[in-house]
C-alpha cells in the first residue's frame, strides 16, 4: 500500500494522517504496559513518578519492590502456587484437548460434524458471565486442591482443541491414505504424518493455555480458597498497599514477551518447514 507518485495532496495527507492515527492507537495499546516498567523501580512506595525519578536521579530508583516480591512470604507462596498449578493445568488440558481434537477430526464422529464445534462451544464458558459463579459452585463439589486444579483447567482446553482441530482438519488426509497404502499401521501414521504438524500446534495451544491458566487462576483461588499470584495481585490492588504489584506486573510482561517470542520463533520455523516464503 505504498503511496503512488501520482497521489493527490489529499491522498498524501490521508496516507500520513492515517498512519499517525494508527500510531496513536498503538500508543494507546502499549503505553499503559510500558509505563509500569519504570515505575516498578520506584524507590518510594508510590504508584507515580517522583521528582527524583523524573530527574533521572539514581537515588529515585531501587529494586526494593523486587526484593519484596522475592522475600515476602505472601508473594512467594502465591508464586509457588501459581507455578505448580499452571503447568499441571496446562498438561492436563493439553492432554485432554489433544485427544479430543484427534478424535473429533476423524471423519465419522458420532455427534456428526458438530463434534468439534460443540466441544469448542464451552469456550463460551470463557466468556460467560457466570464463569466466576460457576467456579464458586465447583468449590462445593470438589476438594481443596482438586477444586483449584479443575477450576484453572476449565476455561482453557478449548484453546488447545481449537488450534489442534484446526491443524488436523486442515491436514491433508491423502498423506494418511498414502501411508496406509504403503502398509503402515495407524500408530506409525499418528507418529509420523499427523503428529508433526500437530506438535507445532500443540505449541500454539499450549502457550496461550499456560498463560491463561496463570491469568484465570485468580478466579480459581476463589474456588479453592488458596492464594496464588493473580489473587495476591487482585487483593493488593483493591487495598492499594504496595507497588510490589508493579514489580510483579513487570515480571509478567517480561514473561509474555518471552512467550510471544517463542511463538514467533515457532511460527517462523513452521513456515520454513512448509517452505512458504515470507
Amino acid at each position: 500500500m505504498a503511496l503512488p507518485s501520482y497521489a493527490s495532496p489529499l491522498q498524501r495527507a490521508w496516507y500520513y494522517g492515517f498512519r499517525i492515527l494508527c500510531g496513536l492507537i498503538f500508543f494507546y495499546l502499549m503505553f499503559p504496559i510500558a509505563v509500569i516498567i519504570p515505575l516498578s523501580f520506584n524507590a518510594e512506595d508510590f504508584f507515580t513518578f517522583t521528582s527524583a525519578m523524573l530527574a533521572l536521579d539514581p537515588d529515585g530508583y531501587s529494586l526494593k519492590h523486587y526484593v519484596d516480591f522475592f522475600t515476602n512470604p505472601d508473594w512467594t507462596m502465591a508464586t509457588r502456587n501459581s507455578l505448580t498449578i499452571a503447568p499441571m493445568a496446562t498438561i492436563i488440558s493439553v492432554a485432554l484437548g489433544t485427544l479430543a481434537a484427534i478424535g473429533s477430526s476423524q471423519s465419522h464422529v458420532p455427534a456428526g460434524d458438530h463434534g468439534g464445534a460443540d466441544l469448542a462451544d464451552d469456550r463460551a464458558a470463557d466468556h460467560l458471565g457466570g464463569r466466576d459463579v460457576l467456579l464458586l459452585l465447583v468449590r462445593g463439589a470438589a476438594g481443596h486442591l482438586l477444586g483449584r486444579r479443575s477450576g484453572t483447567r476449565d476455561p482453557r482446553h478449548p484453546f488447545v482443541i481449537i488450534t489442534v482441530t484446526a491443524t488436523l482438519v486442515g491436514f491433508d488426509r491423502s498423506l494418511t491414505r498414502c501411508g496406509v497404502d504403503g502398509g503402515r499401521s495407524d500408530h506409525d501414521l499418528l507418529q509420523g504424518a499427523a503428529a508433526d504438524p500437530a506438535g507445532r500446534d500443540l505449541g500454539f495451544g499450549c502457550l496461550p493455555s499456560s498463560r491463561r491458566s496463570t491469568k484465570w487462576s485468580w478466579s480459581s483461588s476463589w474456588a479453592g480458597s488458596a492464594t496464588n499470584l493473580p489473587w495476591q495481585m487482585f487483593t493488593g490492588l483493591r487495598e492499594q498497599i504496595s507497588p510490589t504489584i508493579l514489580a510483579v506486573a513487570t515480571l509478567m510482561v517480561v514473561l509474555s514477551i518471552l512467550l510471544l517470542a517463542t511463538l514467533e520463533i515457532l511460527r517462523r520455523r513452521n513456515e520454513k518447514m512448509r517452505g512458504t516464503p515470507n
Binding site: 494507546y28 502499549m30 507515580t48 473429533s104 463460551a124
Partner: protein
C-alpha cells in the same frame, strides 16, 4: 442365462459382504473417535455442565422452609394470602411444634436467614420465639396465638404470614423475582421499592456500557486492522506483536497499569498538571467511575476486536479495490462500496466477541469502577461473599448465562464460531 444369474448372485454376495465390512470399519472408527473424545467429555460434564446444573437448581430451590417448618407449612395450606385475618390457632400450634424441633436441631436461624433475604425482621422474631418456646408444652399450654404475639409483635402481623406463605413452596420463582427487582412478600408479584431496586439498573448499565466499549473497540480496532492487512507482511508481523503483547499480558497487569495512569496522583494527571492544562488542586477524577471502566476495558478488549478483523481483512483480495478504482470509483467509494462490505463478517465476529466478554467482566469494574462503574457481575460477587444469598446468585447468574447464550447463538448463526482466529 444361468451364467448371468450366477454372476448376479456372486455380485450380491460380495456386495453384502463389502457393505458389512464397511459398516464394521465405520463402527470401529466411530468408537475410536468417541473413546478419544470421552475424557474431555467427562471432564466437561463434571467441571462445566454439573456446576451449571447446580446453579440452575439453586436458583429455584426453596426446600429449606418446608424442611424446617413442615407442620406450619401444611397448616397454612388453607389460609389465603388475601385474607384479612390471622391464620388459625392450629397454625400457631404447628409453629410452636416446628420451632421446638428447629431450636433443638439449631436450624431455626437457617429459616430466619432465608426469610430475611425477602423481608427484614425475621431473624429477631425467630430468635426470640425459639428462646421462648423451649419450655412450652404443645399439648397443654395452648392457645398459642396470643403467646406468640407477646413474644414478638411480628407474629401477629399479616405481612409476616403473607411473606411466609408466599415463600414456603419447595421450588420458588422468588429468586428470579428478586433478580429482576420484584417481590411477592404480599402474596402477589410487585416491584420492590426504589431504594432496594438495583439489579435491573445494573443489568441495563452492564448492557449499555458493554455496547459502548464494543463500539469504541471497533472505532479504534478497524483502522489498525486495516493497516495490518495492507502493509507488507514483514511490517505487519512486527506491528502485530504490538497488538499481541497487550493481548498476552495478564488482565490484572493491564488493569493495574490503568489504575496507575488514571488515579488522582497518577501519571496522566501529573502530565496534565505539568503542562498546565489542569490546575494542581483541580485534578481530573478519572478512576472509580464509568469513565475509568470504559477506558480500561476498551484497552483490554481492543485486541479481541483487532484480531478477528485482521483475519477477515487479510482474505480480502486487494485487486477488488484496484478494479473499483480503475473503473472510476474514488477512494471513498472504493472503500465504502467494495472493501467495507467484505470486512463486515470481521466486524460481526469482533463485536459479538467483545460484547460477550464485556458483559461478564468482573475484575476491571471491581478495581477501577467504584460504585458508579459497578457491573452486574460485581453485584453477583457481593451477593455471594457478603449476603451469602446463593439462590439469588444462581438466579442472577442464570439470567446472565441465558443472555450470553442467546448472543452466542446469534454469533454462531451470523459468523460461525469457527471463523475466529485469536493470535
Amino acid at each position: 442365462m444361468t451364467s448371468t444369474a450366477a454372476d448376479s448372485t456372486t455380485q450380491e454376495l460380495s456386495g453384502g459382504a463389502l457393505k458389512r465390512s464397511l459398516a464394521r470399519a465405520l463402527r470401529r472408527q466411530k468408537i475410536r473417535a468417541l473413546m478419544l473424545t470421552a475424557p474431555l467429555l467427562v471432564f466437561i460434564v463434571v467441571g462445566f455442565i454439573m456446576p451449571i446444573g447446580s446453579m440452575l437448581f439453586r436458583s429455584i430451590d426453596n426446600r429449606v422452609v418446608d424442611d424446617i417448618m413442615p407442620r406450619t407449612v401444611a397448616a397454612l395450606a388453607d389460609w389465603d394470602v388475601d385474607s384479612t385475618e390471622l391464620p388459625s390457632e392450629e397454625v400457631f400450634t404447628a409453629l410452636v411444634a416446628d420451632l421446638q424441633i428447629a431450636a433443638e436441631d439449631r436450624t431455626a436461624l437457617l429459616l430466619a436467614r432465608r426469610m430475611n433475604f425477602e423481608t427484614a425482621g425475621f431473624t429477631t422474631m425467630v430468635r426470640r420465639a425459639q428462646r421462648a418456646v423451649g419450655d412450652w408444652d404443645v399439648a397443654t399450654d395452648g392457645p398459642f396465638r396470643e403467646r406468640m404475639i407477646d413474644v414478638h409483635d411480628g407474629w401477629g402481623s399479616l405481612e409476616t404470614w403473607r411473606a411466609f406463605k408466599s415463600y414456603s413452596s419447595h421450588y420458588t420463582i422468588g429468586y428470579y423475582l428478586a433478580a429482576v427487582d420484584r417481590t411477592m412478600v404480599t402474596g402477589h408479584i410487585e416491584p420492590l421499592p426504589d431504594d432496594r431496586s438495583i439489579h435491573l439498573m445494573l443489568f441495563w448499565r452492564t448492557a449499555w456500557m458493554s455496547g459502548l466499549i464494543c463500539f469504541m473497540t471497533l472505532l479504534l480496532g478497524y483502522p489498525v486492522a486495516f493497516l495490518l492487512a495492507n502493509v507488507k507482511e514483514r511490517y505487519a508481523n512486527l506491528l502485530l506483536i504490538m497488538v499481541l503483547l497487550p493481548f498476552w499480558t495478564s488482565l490484572l497487569v493491564r488493569t493495574s497499569a490503568w489504575k496507575v495512569l488514571l488515579q488522582e496522583q497518577g501519571v496522566i494527571n501529573q502530565i496534565l498538571v505539568w503542562i498546565g492544562l489542569v490546575a494542581d488542586d483541580n485534578r481530573l477524577t478519572m478512576i472509580n467511575n464509568k469513565f475509568g471502566v470504559i477506558v480500561a476495558m476498551t484497552h483490554i478488549l481492543l485486541p479481541f476486536m483487532i484480531l478477528p478483523l485482521y483475519s477477515v481483512m487479510k482474505t480480502i483480495p486487494p485487486s477488488y479495490v484496484r478494479a473499483a478504482k480503475s473503473l472510476g470509483a474514488n477512494d471513498w467509494t472504493a472503500f465504502w462500496r467494495v472493501y467495507f462490505p467484505q470486512s463486515v463478517p470481521g466486524i460481526g465476529a469482533g463485536a459479538i466477541l467483545v460484547f460477550i466478554m464485556a458483559v461478564g467482566y468482573y475484575i476491571t469494574p471491581e478495581l477501577v469502577g467504584g460504585p458508579s462503574g459497578m457491573f452486574i457481575s460485581n453485584r453477583i460477587a457481593h451477593q455471594w461473599t457478603v449476603s451469602g444469598n446463593w439462590g439469588l446468585v444462581g438466579a442472577l447468574g442464570t439470567l446472565l448465562l441465558v443472555a450470553v447464550l442467546v448472543l452466542y447463538w446469534v454469533y454462531d448463526r451470523v459468523v460461525g464460531i469457527d471463523n475466529v482466529k485469536l493470535g
